[in-house]
């Protein structure tokens, strides 16, 4: 059977803030920060949004676009590094909110920015083995950067959901390959509000090594090369890293353009590759091939190669907002409002 | 049914009474009422106390027993009952007392109301008041008590053209009356501008569109009419009593610009009394928000639906108007200690009908109406009074 994506849904909050605005407060040249990171603005969740509400929005969009009975979903996995509860899964609330409860299995995943794609691989296994008919994999985050830290310019919010199945798939996932090592480039201890990172250590030995290895491993496993693909999307903590790694691997600008969202929404962490993939699926046509490599600090990469099927022609994409549509009706914030929204101001009642 | 008279009234000042506890104010008002009625403790057959939320304001339930105890009446083991219907607790307590006397069950009954709202923070007080609305389907979803009334105001303005200025006129009139009431919480006159420039609470309602949180208590003594002259010279008869309920949530009402419960309670009271609105000289109505007074004077039948704002603007509800509304200052200026309000209205009406209202006296007032509402209109109680 051909396992793949049956439906997908995306969500990004409508609030934005620019690196210039953040830089003003910390005495940093925000404009050149923006240029260096290739990020024009990042998304900010409203105080009443969190990874749970974002996951629900994405999952509901995913369900609206197809006619699958939610009771046939056998598994839901939500990958994030900002689950609202450390103990009590995001997935159970998503399950109730899309009416998939109670006959299913749920768990929350964590692997920095590749928790959502790890969930996709798990669903592929469950569907492929016949254990479940449909599985839902969600990557979503409302990640935080410490005030004044480099990450504050990019850490943003958003997510996407994928319904994995073998029936009426709009995109087959033909191969997947992962590359994993113990590399402490970026981490967050339990109880800490903000993550810490190894500065330049997050580059070559972390992001680039694992993304390149993941990509090369997949080329080998699938017997393909960059020119075989219509689209390519890479984990995007900023606009620079994925652009550079794409070039190093041999992809061109046209292939990378659609999935590159960091410049307009920042780094949505577990939502990054899922949202990039959603943007691609928003315009992909039957026969298009997609190459995706997600990266999670700690560290590992998940690489996928996919083929869009004829089913995409009859797919009701219009029933939910596209990534482009989610990037309209925006409201730009000043730093004070951003800090209030993100809980960075100590309130009196606590 | 026996005919029932009010033979004594008493109240405390309303306001932020830092020096007095709930027990203090309850007893103060009760003592004043009993002294006014010229009765002694051993003549009291039963006690009814209106109180909305002592359990949350002062963490005390079992209010009937508490007041009986501190009034010294527990030694005589009198029946003591706490009555609750949110803002209508006082008026409803009066109805229980009236029923007890009218039915022949009891002869001399004391009815009081008290609320101590200022021992908790403003936010806590607001949250407690919101429990008069539908907690699960209004408050939990972000509604505050003023916000619900703002929804009414906005719709009333949309359907009938009621204006921001007309709503302000309610507060201006009530403050004017309150300035002549030594027991009122606010005794200074205000202007339209005071209202329209005060901070927004929930648009279009501003601070001066909303009654304050208050401490206070009020009490009355009831007895069969044919016994009344034994105690005082000018008994005031309760000639009509009506009560009605409606949906708890505002969004379940037939028409949010009409408090159906007020209409039905009034109809029932007028029917019992064999009177009409034309007979009424003074009315104490439930103006916890300026828009509430506009709805009240329409729903009680004094003015056509949609005309309440215009009538207020034209001065028809002033002391000299067609129908003097809220001569005490209303909830807005006299204050609104929730459980006490319904009884404070009776104190004012009785005072007016006895001719003892001083500067705010309405000439030749013979018939008065008290209107008390719970929540956004889920309970309404109306009583009619006539000087004998």
């Amino acid at each position: 059977m051909k396992v793949g994506i049956v439906s997908y849904g995306a969500y990004v909050p409508r609030y934005r803030i620019t690196p210039e605005e953040i830089g003003k407060v910390w005495g940093v040249d925000g404009k050149s920060m923006s240029k260096g990171l290739m990020i024009n603005c990042k998304s900010v969740p409203s105080p009443d949004e969190d990874t749970i509400t974002i996951s629900v929005e994405a999952a509901r969009s995913m369900m609206r676009r197809c006619s699958v009975n939610p009771k046939e979903i056998g598994a839901i996995y939500v990958g994030s590094e900002s689950h609202p509860y450390t103990v009590k899964p995001t997935g159970t609330i998503v399950a109730e909110a899309i009416e998939a409860s109670p006959h299913l299995t749920v768990a929350d995943f964590e692997f920095a920015c590749k928790a959502g794609t790890a969930a996709i691989q798990t669903c592929m296994g469950l569907v492929g083995s016949g254990m479940v008919k449909y599985g839902v994999a969600i990557g979503s985050d409302t990640s935080q950067g410490a005030p004044g830290d480099a990450l504050e310019y990019s850490a943003s919010a958003g997510g996407a959901a994928f319904l994995i199945g073998a029936d009426k798939v709009i995109t087959t996932i033909d191969n997947t390959y992962s590359y994993t090592t113990d590399t402490p480039d970026f981490w967050r201890r339990e109880g800490q509000m903000y993550p810490r990172h190894g500065g330049r250590f997050t580059g070559e030995p972390a992001y680039f090594k694992h993304v390149m290895s993941g990509a090369k491993g997949l080329f080998e496993r699938s017997g393909t090369e960059p020119k075989d693909y219509t689209y390519a999307v890479f984990h995007q903590p900023n606009g620079k890293f994925p652009t550079r790694v794409a070039k190093q691997l041999g992809f061109n600008d046209a292939q990378v353009k659609t999935g590159l969202l960091a410049p307009i929404i920042g780094n949505t962490y577990s939502g990054a590759v899922p949202l990039g993939l959603s943007a691609i699926l928003d315009e992909a046509k039957a026969g298009d091939r997609i190459f995706a490599v997600a990266y999670g600090s700690g560290a590992g990469s998940d690489a996928f190669e996919m083929t869009v099927t004829d089913e995409i022609d009859g797919y009701a994409r219009y029933r939910a907002p596209t990534v482009k549509e989610l990037n309209t009706n925006l409201k730009f914030l000043d730093y004070a409002t951003y800090a209030k929204f993100r809980g960075k101001i100590i309130l009196g009642s606590e | 049914m026996r005919r029932v008279a009010v033979i004594g009234v008493g109240d405390t000042e309303f306001g932020e009474l830092w020096d007095y506890s709930f027990r203090d104010i309850g007893i103060q008002a009760g003592l004043a009422a009993v002294a006014d009625a010229n009765i002694s403790a051993d003549q009291i057959d039963a006690l009814y106390v209106g109180n909305m939320s002592a359990g949350r304001f002062i963490e005390q339930e079992h209010i009937g027993a508490l007041i009986a105890d501190y009034a010294g009446l527990a030694r005589d083991h009198i029946p003591a009952t706490r009555v609750e219907a949110a803002g209508a607790s006082g008026g409803l307590a009066l109805r229980q007392g009236f029923t007890a006397v009218a039915s022949g069950l009891h002869d001399i009954v004391v009815v009081g109301g008290a609320e101590k709202m200022t021992d908790v923070s403003d936010t806590e007080s607001a949250a407690i008041q919101s429990s008069a609305a539908d907690q699960e389907w209004e408050t939990v979803l972000g509604a505050t008590f003023p916000a619900l009334h703002a929804l009414i105001a906005k719709r009333h303005m949309h359907e009938y053209g009621t204006t921001r200025e007309q709503m302000a006129d309610v507060a201006v009139k009530n403050h004017k009356n309150g300035s002549m009431n030594p027991k009122a919480q606010f005794q200074r006159e205000i202007t339209r501008e005071t209202v329209t420039s005060s901070p927004i609470v929930a648009s279009p309602l501003r601070v001066f569109d909303c009654a304050p949180s208050s401490d206070g208590a009020a009490g009355v003594v009831l007895c069969p009419l044919d016994m009344a002259k034994k105690f005082i010279e000018t008994p005031i008869e309760i000639v009509g009593s009506g009560q009605a309920s409606d949906t708890l949530a505002l969004h379940h009402r037939k028409d949010i610009c009409t408090m159906e419960a007020t209409k039905v309670a009034a109809k029932r009271a007028f029917a019992m009394a064999n009177l009409t609105t034309k007979d009424v000289d003074i009315a104490e109505v439930h103006d916890n928000f300026t828009i509430s007074e506009i709805l009240a004077i329409e729903d009680l039948g004094f003015f056509k639906k949609g005309e309440g704002g215009k009538a207020t603007e034209a001065g028809l509800t002033s002391l000299e108007g067609e129908i003097a509304v809220n001569t005490s200052g209303g909830l807005k200026a006299r204050g609104d200690p929730i459980g006490a309000t319904g009884l404070a209205q009776v104190v004012e009406i009785v005072t007016q009908l006895r001719g003892k209202a001083g500067k705010r006296q309405v000439k030749e007032a013979t018939v008065g109406l008290a209107h008390n509402v719970g929540g956004t209109g889920a309970t309404a109680v109306v009583h009619l009074f006539r000087r004998v």
Partner: protein
């Protein structure tokens, strides 16, 4: 004050707009009740669960400035009475818009958001809020 069971019990209605239809008179209601308020006992056994679509329009609205502590970071916020397409009315916040853009009659649709939380260590409550529906571009 821990309120886990009281909120949990209403999740079906607060997340998924579970209401009911009285098959005796045909009226739709939200939230669910034991009996139809019009038909009373004649409705027993004839109550059918329905899920409201979530689309409706603004019946009245206000901008709330004086609000409970848990909504402090959102103030001022818009509270509205919304009339669902199926008939029932509800009370809820309108979000992702400016107060000035709204009118009585503006079409809205329900979405899921955080309603409140019992402090930093307590349960988080979720439920419906409304977003204005943008007219489709021609």
């Amino acid at each position: 004050m821990a309120t886990a069971p009281r909120y949990w019990r209403e999740n079906d209605s607060r997340y998924n707009l579970l209401g009911f239809k009285c098959n005796n008179c045909g009226r739709n209601y939200f939230p669910p009740r034991a009996i139809c308020p019009v038909c009373h006992r004649k409705s027993v056994g004839k109550i059918e669960e329905i899920k409201l679509k979530g689309t409706g329009k603004i019946f009245s609205f206000t901008e709330v400035h004086d609000c409970p502590e848990e909504l402090a970071t959102q103030k001022p916020y818009v509270l509205a009475m919304v009339e669902f397409d199926e008939g029932p009315k509800v009370t809820g916040q309108i979000i992702d818009c400016e107060h000035c853009e709204l009118e009585i009659g503006t079409p809205v649709r329900a979405t899921l958001r955080k309603l409140s939380e019992e402090g930093p260590s307590g349960i988080i409550h979720y439920g419906y809020k409304f977003v204005p529906v943008k007219p489709k571009a021609p």
